[in-house]
């Protein structure tokens, strides 16, 4: 089995606070892993650390991605190496056009791989096609990144970016939160359309409902900065019934 992401004994602090405490997780290529866990347990921290956000101190542990040391790479290098973070709270960037960003992102990755820039016309056709899939109105093409988007629109826009960038590893932080039922299905369709033997997903979610649409290979429960329990999709159903207390107690 080919492990795409290998996190070993990861310890991370933010200021004085220890947020991740010996987190170990392997994600083989082609698999979908769900990460659940109580508020504040460190899920977004993990996602940010994987994407290389500054402000986190890695005090111990290693992360390897495609066999290389992920933590040694700058955020933009990780992105170009095929890592994609779908943000829990996508930021609005007025004045930076949506399509411009998409194209810059695609070209950055292409440049890395020695490919020429995308043809502007072909690219726009591709974007429009994916927008249709995500049911995002074409008027969003001319708007600023996430500018004035509703909560659900921002999440769909994250998936749109993912569809166009076609990452190797997508870390989606609560992409399902704040979505109505229809939008949830749209997002799930988007993710499922990208599932492939060489591509993996880490889905951070609070709701087992998402996992009805995107069936995970593994479910992990993060408690106080480490994986307290792992299982198959049955674990998500059990969490839905029983909550987190029993796992937290076991972990303590």
């Amino acid at each position: 089995m080919n492990t795409l992401l290998n996190i070993d004994n990861l310890h991370v602090a933010v200021g004085d606070k220890k947020v991740l405490n010996g987190l170990t997780l392997q994600v083989p290529a082609g698999e979908v892993h769900a990460i659940m866990g109580p508020n504040g347990s460190g899920k977004s921290t993990l996602a940010h650390v994987l994407a290389g956000r500054p402000g986190y101190e890695i005090t111990a542990g290693t992360v390897s991605y495609q066999g290389t040391d992920l933590l040694a790479l700058a955020p933009e290098e990780r992105a170009r190496a095929g890592l994609f973070l779908g943000f829990q709270y996508p930021v609005e960037i007025p004045g930076v056009n949506n399509v411009y960003l998409l194209k810059a992102a695609v070209n950055a990755a292409r440049k890395q791989h020695g490919l020429p820039e995308v043809d502007a016309f072909d690219f726009l056709t591709l974007v429009k096609e994916k927008m249709q899939l995500m049911q995002i109105d074409e008027s969003f093409l001319s708007r600023g990144v996430n500018e004035g988007f509703s909560g659900g629109e921002k999440k769909r826009n994250e998936i749109l970016q993912m569809l166009i960038l076609e990452p190797k590893l997508a870390v989606l932080d609560e992409t399902d939160s704040g979505l109505d039922i229809d939008a949830l299905k749209i997002v799930a369709n988007g993710v499922n359309s990208l599932r492939a033997p060489e591509r993996s997903f880490v889905l951070v979610t609070h709701y087992q409902r998402l996992l009805d649409y995107i069936v995970p290979d593994r479910v992990h429960v993060l408690v106080r900065g480490r994986i307290a329990r792992s299982g198959d999709r049955e674990l998500a159903l059990e969490l839905e019934r029983r909550g987190y207390d029993w796992i937290s107690q076991e972990a303590a």
Binding site: A51, P75, A79, G95, A104
Partner: protein
């Protein structure tokens, strides 16, 4: 006052006394010139310790000669910025009209002071009781030429561009651009005003613009300050807006070593309104400073002030926006959004909102921030694979575009955007946005 500025004030008065016999009386009569220099000498030059001058760089004045410059270079028309369609262009070189470079036929709305048959200039300096008229007094004392624009056609907009080219070095002499703009009731005026340097980059320019917006008239005033890298650009602008009139100002402050604009906009009639959009981009050791006072003197008047300033390297960018709402200005609406961006560890940005409100019935919303690029935005762009330098550049660009996009003449906006990109040293990286 400091001893150094006293000496300078005295030196200016002496320069004026020797220059006076040669100064054209068709522009400003001898008596008024004497009055102006007298009033100036009594008050002296502004100094940094004085209220509303603290951000300006006034040191460069000490190296300047105040006597009007003789035009130095013969200009190639190709060195001038591209013309904007529909705008007839008139050019002044070192404060003197240059007919050979200007639009071939005279404009019905434009009179050049030196060729006019009457003394058309108004007493411009008197208008600035709220802001500061000292530099305007100097212009009045030394002015060599200028133009009067009168928009009288209510059926069609009047569109004029005036370019002030400075060619002489500051040690050789100063240039005094001077404009008197009047719009009659119900007219529309589109008016582009540029300040550029050719030949020497180290000019001293002291401009005065006075604008009367008539009843129900609209003025769109586009100002581009693109003087040379070592130029000192001083400017005093006054506008008075009558009932139902609108005055919109777009100022792009880009050039100069030291650039200071003092502006006073008076909303004198009911429902008069104004929009002041300013962008300022400074690098190296540049200092850009704007002091803008808006006076709401009548009921239901409206003002909107936007400022976006970027200071890189060791530059300093200041914007001091003052709003005065008089007792009679019931129902006035005033909005202010002032934002400064620090793009270098040694740069300085100062935004200062000031409010003086003498009536209860006003709606004011005021925001002023100065800081660095937003970390969340930056990380978002990096997480999509963008180079850090490009991400920073893009965010700076977006920051400015917020205001630049409001320039509603696409060709002119394009020129401003190119100039901004050039100023940020990265036309190539931004080419897709231009």
């Amino acid at each position: 006052m400091s001893a150094a500025s006293d000496l300078l004030t005295a030196r200016i008065a002496a320069e004026h006394a020797s220059a006076l016999p040669d100064l054209p009386t068709s522009v400003i009569g001898r008596d008024r010139r004497l009055q102006a220099i007298g009033a100036f000498s009594a008050r002296g030059l502004p100094i940094n310790r004085q209220e509303n001058w603290r951000y300006a760089n006034l040191h460069t004045l000490h190296h300047a000669r105040f006597t009007p410059a003789q035009p130095q270079a013969t200009l190639e028309p190709s060195a001038l910025p591209g013309e904007i369609e529909g705008y007839a262009r008139y050019i002044f070189v070192d404060g003197r009209f240059a007919p050979e470079l200007s639009h071939h036929s005279p404009h019905p709305a434009l009179t050049i002071f030196t060729t006019g048959t009457e003394d058309t200039a108004q007493h411009i300096a008197a208008e600035q009781e709220l802001a500061d008229n000292r530099l305007a007094l100097l212009n009045e004392a030394f002015a060599t030429d200028g133009a009067r624009i009168v928009a009288a056609d209510t059926a069609h907009p009047t569109c004029i561009e005036v370019v002030f080219v400075a060619t002489a070095a500051a040690q050789g002499g100063a240039s005094y651009p001077r404009l008197q703009v009047t719009t009659q009731a119900g007219t529309r005026l589109g008016f582009i005003e540029r300040h550029i340097s050719l030949g020497s980059e180290a000019n001293f320019i002291n401009a005065v613009v006075n604008i009367e917006v008539g009843r129900g008239a609209t003025v769109d005033h586009y100002r581009l300050q693109q003087t040379g890298a070592e130029a000192t650009w001083m400017d005093t602008l006054s506008a008075r807006v009558a009932t139902d009139g609108t005055y919109r100002l777009h100022l792009a402050n880009l050039g100069g070593q030291s650039a200071r604009s003092t502006q006073q906009i008076s909303l004198a009639g009911e429902r008069a309104s104004t929009v002041l959009n300013t962008v300022s981009v400074a690098g190296r050791l540049q200092v850009h400073d704007v002091f803008a006072v808006i006076e709401h003197a009548a009921a239901a008047t409206q003002s909107e002030q936007r400022f976006r300033g970027v200071a890189a390297q060791q530059a300093r960018v200041g914007f001091n926006g003052k709003v005065v709402v008089r007792t009679d200005a019931h129902g006035a609406v005033s909005r202010q959004s002032l934002r400064g961006l620090l793009a270098g560890p040694q740069a300085e940005v100062d935004v200062r909102p000031q409010l003086e409100i003498y009536t209860d019935e006003v709606q004011c919303s005021h925001g002023a921030t100065a800081g660095k690029l937003d970390e969340n935005m930056l990380f978002y762009l990096l997480s999509r694979g963008m180079e850090p330098e490009m991400a920073q550049l893009l965010l700076k660009w977006a920051f400015l575009e917020d205001v630049v996009a409001k320039i509603d003449l696409p060709a002119l906006r394009g020129q401003v955007e190119h100039a901004l990109a050039g100023q940020m040293d990265d036309t190539a990286a931004l080419r897709e946005l231009l």
